[in-house]
């Protein structure tokens, strides 16, 4: 089997600090990591390949520095990595990103399964998985928390608002995963050594069948026209020690105002 995992390099918001004046994240000096849910996707690919031997390919679209993400994936157990990088891709929205990823996937040959994260922690759109599947015209499912591989497809559990939906999808198909599908493992020494020497396959726009007008910012249907920092103003009333009883009285009044009691 061949499994493709789509991975995205994102700023490491775990170490993020907030600018106390503006309330925004300070992005400078943040390291980068593989999008956390994509680690779950890599882990799941590994779990599947333990049952049915599979070649795991990771694909990332990003700046040249995203090579680091590929090395990390190799260390975790991926077999092969493609770095899709070109200045012309800059400013891509989810449609334009999906277009490039879908064309890259077509170029890299037949596959059985594509795994992606449900969403990325930076853009948080959660659109790339479904858009790639639709551009490849293959069945897909989302919010996946369990995968079992059958002869000609997968049985999955989608965890949605009101319950757990079991679906069967034939190969080739795409799945987006949630974090509780598994526990990503830490790369072992062997993996790290392999990763250090690994050089990914590079793909740029000249290798893809996409006209320039569909690339990057120019090819993106959506435009960000304004960024603002919402400052939710709250009059915090803080009660400590002996004030707590008064605080509870105030809270009760609020609950009555809200008609909750």
């Amino acid at each position: 089997m061949k499994i493709i995992v789509l991975i995205k390099q994102v700023p490491d918001t775990d170490n993020v600090k907030l600018d106390t004046k503006t309330g925004t994240m300070i992005r400078e000096g943040l390291g980068t990591i593989i999008n956390p849910l994509d680690l779950n996707a890599i882990e799941e690919a590994k779990k599947i390949s333990e049952i049915i031997p599979s070649e795991i390919n990771v694909i990332t679209m990003g700046p040249p520095a995203a090579e680091e993400a590929i090395k990390e994936a190799i260390a975790m157990g991926a077999d092969k990595g493609y770095l899709v990088s070109d200045r012309k891709f800059a400013g891509s929205d989810s449609w334009a990103t999906s277009m490039v990823l879908a064309e890259t996937i077509k170029k890299t040959g037949n596959f059985d399964l594509i795994l992606a994260g449900e969403k990325a922690i930076d853009g948080e759109t959660g659109q790339v998985g479904p858009e790639v599947a639709s551009m490849l015209d293959i069945p897909f499912s989302t919010y996946i928390t369990n995968i079992s591989v059958k002869d000609n497809g997968v049985e999955v559990v989608r965890t949605v608002e009101d319950g757990y939906q079991n679906q069967f999808l034939p190969f080739p198909c795409l799945l987006t995963v949630l974090s509780n599908i598994n526990e990503p493992s830490i790369p072992n020494l062997e993996g790290k050594i392999k990763a250090r020497k690994y050089i990914s396959d590079k793909i740029d726009s000249s290798k893809l069948k996409i006209e320039d007008e569909y690339l990057g910012l120019k090819g993106s249907p959506t435009r960000v026209v304004k960024i603002s920092t919402p400052k939710i103003q709250r009059q915090s009333s803080i009660y400590k020690g002996s004030e707590i009883d008064d605080g509870i009285k105030d809270l009760i009044k609020e609950l009555q105002k809200m008609a909750l009691i």
């Binding site: 918001t13 989302t142 608002e161 939906q165 026209v225 960024i227 803080i238």
Partner: protein
């Protein structure tokens, strides 16, 4: 019919979701500004209200597609029917709830019909100069708001978070109903729905609730969640959780609030023994009223709360519960 705004109604196992009414109301507001009509597309097998019921919220036309394969959610069928209908109706704007279904279907539709899509909007408006849809959404964990336009592609599409807009007062108003019969090929799918298991009552969707009582690592052990359930029950709410408590298996994943869990915006949110890491705040900071209980006076949750108690939750919580019970008795 002239230009119109299309709302994709959501009917989940026979029940129209509230987000449908919310979006029709908002669509009407936008349509008035653009002098357009509001159409609603409903895909269902059974439905708990007559389609005519939607006129009163602002719909001018309701287009119905009824088929037994539409009872359970099947993304492939939804996508093929909706893409086809969008091409036929040719709306200026398409709005859909940012539910698990909407967030699954719409990106694929955008991929099929080659247009833009803005996810999880919390604000919609019409730009006066251009008539374009202004779509505002939180980004980077709610720390910034981005306003997005789709200048050259049609339709302009957005998924909108449930409860962003309120359900409009229903008025007496009529409209047009159309039932469409599509070829049976639209209802065929390679995806098979095998079964559906409802959440247990303790797993009910916290995004639908007005009151959420959430607990964090400060609860110390799984049992403490029982006390949170007691408080939640008194206020007719449910229980939420921070990620570490889910990882520790004190409570199940559907309860997780935050960046990698659910985004909630209830009337009242309790953060009990939760420090208020950015990833948690991302999931709850737009709640209307926030109450925090934490023993550490410097923890970030106190910066976003309306009422904060600096103290031991094992003392404050019982006091609070007793006080509420007292009040409820009278």
């Amino acid at each position: 019919m002239g230009k119109n705004i299309l709302v994709l109604g959501e009917i989940r196992r026979g029940k129209i979701l509230n987000v449908t009414y919310e979006l029709i109301g908002k669509a009407k507001e936008l349509a008035v500004k653009k002098n357009e009509k509001v159409s609603v597309l409903l895909l269902f097998d059974s439905i708990d209200k007559k389609p005519e019921y939607l006129f009163g919220f602002g719909a001018d036309k309701v287009i119905c597609i009824k088929n037994k394969s539409l009872f359970f959610f099947n993304q492939e069928i939804q996508i093929s029917v909706i893409s086809h209908m969008i091409k036929n109706i040719n709306p200026e704007i398409v709005l859909c709830g940012a539910t698990s279904s909407g967030r699954t279907i719409l990106p694929a539709v955008a991929g099929k019909i080659n247009t833009g899509l803005t996810a999880d909007c919390t604000g919609l408006d019409i730009e006066e100069s251009s008539g374009l849809l202004l779509q505002t959404r939180p980004a980077i964990g709610g720390n910034i708001m981005a306003t997005i336009k789709t200048p050259n592609h049609r339709p302009q599409m957005a998924t909108v978070r449930p409860k962003t807009f309120s359900i409009p007062q229903r008025i007496d108003k009529s409209g047009e109903i159309e039932y469409i019969n599509l070829d049976k090929k639209f209802f065929e799918s390679k995806i098979k729905n095998l079964s559906f298991t409802d959440l247990n009552s303790d797993e009910k969707n916290i995004q639908d609730l007005d009151v959420i009582v959430s607990g964090g690592k400060g609860l110390k052990r799984a049992e403490t969640f029982k006390t949170l359930y007691n408080l939640a029950e008194l206020l007719n709410g449910g229980v939420g959780a921070s990620r570490p408590t889910v990882e520790a298996k004190w409570i199940k994943y559907p309860h997780q609030v935050g960046l990698s869990g659910k985004v909630v915006s209830p009337k009242l949110y309790f953060a009990i023994g939760i420090s208020g890491a950015v990833q948690h705040l991302a999931g709850m900071q737009t709640s209307e009223f926030i109450v925090a209980i934490n023993k550490d006076p410097d923890c970030p949750i106190f910066k976003v709360c309306d009422i904060g108690f600096v103290g031991d939750l094992f003392q404050v919580l019982p006091k609070l519960i007793t006080a509420i019970k007292e009040k409820k008795r009278f």
